[in-house]
Assembly symmetry: C2
Homo-oligomer: 303 residues x 2
Amino acid sequence: MNRALSIRSRKKDDHAKEASKHTFSISTLRGMQQAELSKKLYKLIKTENHAIGAYETAGRERLSIASQLSDWGESTNDDAVSDISDKIGVILSEIGEQEDLFAQNLEDYRAILKQIRNIESSVQPSRDQKAKISDEIQKLKYKEPSSPKIVTLEQELVRAEAQNLVAEAQLTNITRQKIKEAYDLHFAATIERAEKQIILARYGRRLLNLLDDTPVVPGDVRQPFEHVNEARKVLSDAEHELQTWEPHLEPVHSNAGGLAPNLMPTGATSETASAATEPVATPTPTEKPAAEAQGTHLESATA
Amino acid sequence: MNRALSIRSRKKDDHAKEASKHTFSISTLRGMQQAELSKKLYKLIKTENHAIGAYETAGRERLSIASQLSDWGESTNDDAVSDISDKIGVILSEIGEQEDLFAQNLEDYRAILKQIRNIESSVQPSRDQKAKISDEIQKLKYKEPSSPKIVTLEQELVRAEAQNLVAEAQLTNITRQKIKEAYDLHFAATIERAEKQIILARYGRRLLNLLDDTPVVPGDVRQPFEHVNEARKVLSDAEHELQTWEPHLEPVHSNAGGLAPNLMPTGATSETASAATEPVATPTPTEKPAAEAQGTHLESATA
């Protein structure tokens, strides 16, 4: 069996293929300004922005298609097709709104990833500083083994190591907490969009059943559309079910509640922690915008 | 209450707004080549193509994000983050594949809309011909009321009317049948994507619960990751549930089964129908490609 055990290994295969094509390995220089440590997440956050843009486009196009369908139905001069296509259009608009709401929720998840990226960037100088002092000591020991500067540098190194220990603890604390938070939100948003679109699509199918497609012979006149009220009822039922929708999720548990503002466990005042003179700045969480756009199309359609 | 009763009326408001901005009312001349009758659907089919493109992009970006997440996790040198991020990546890849499968299904729905558009285009000449002969008769009656050509034209008009009656019956038969078929497929595809992504997202949330985010103090070493087997089990459970997924849809009923190849009810041989010399060509249905791409990421990840 030559199958990959994770997407990681598969991904490497892809890279190997790319390399053989002699394409540029760098597509933009912007990522290069990022600290080594935060480069990968920086790129992921950028790609997520493209994905979000695609969902926004999909939502916008769906709204446009909904209007066009309704318009087309009217132009057929067939009462039944006109009424049903208009109401299918309402359902499609609402499905489009859900794509947009999903995109907004993904923005919130993306903001959480940025908090990890920010702490990664801020931990980098602490690692660099430690490595730099170590380096200097090694060089000096080789060139001037008796230099008094070595003692000073070794004292500096102890301080740098202490500071770095704090920074690394803050990094792992934030990383684990925020990666859980980010994908908790991502998956919850996926489920929300899915459950709401299922509601809408099911009512959409009921609308279709109100359209009689029995073929007619030339000269036959179609009967007037008899299901106007039923069709309106389907829409208002859909609206009601959408508005009373509530998430039912298996919770993602977190033990990060004990994380103090200094990104250490609450009450932790180890000597190492207090020895650090410059704790890494706490990344500020992004405010979550109230993304409540659901049911507006149905609401106006059934008013 | 000044709320719209349908998206149709809302759409008109939008148009009014656009007009006041003095933008071009024509954005492309291509639609103009279409018969008047099929213009609206022609445009809708084009817009749907953009929507499909957006879903393809979303799927592609999601796959890319999945790889990047796995890669990032590996670079953290944290066993737990590495394992969980790789497996979350597998779930995300599969979610991306579902976007792509959805786009493929939308292509099939779009092909059905094209069948309506095609019959609309083919009915147009029949309407034009009838109108043209009527016109000629009116002009002649005014200019040369005693012309013998009037009788000939009136005979031609009877034939044109008969042909048009057939064409219009074919149009309504195909329109009603295919619009139901198209949105039956569209809504079924929406539900399929939604149900499968719900399965994936729920297992994704279980994976998150295997990552302990209890904060550590500086100098503490994280315990080795103990849930490797559990995480693998979550993925294989997800794979199994995805592979055994089956649609459970309220059926959309059709009475179009009695539609003969001549687009008339089976057995209908009315005089009008047989009087028509040139029946409108039957649009050929598009083959549905077997779109079975589900579960490949999970399969290789749990192999």
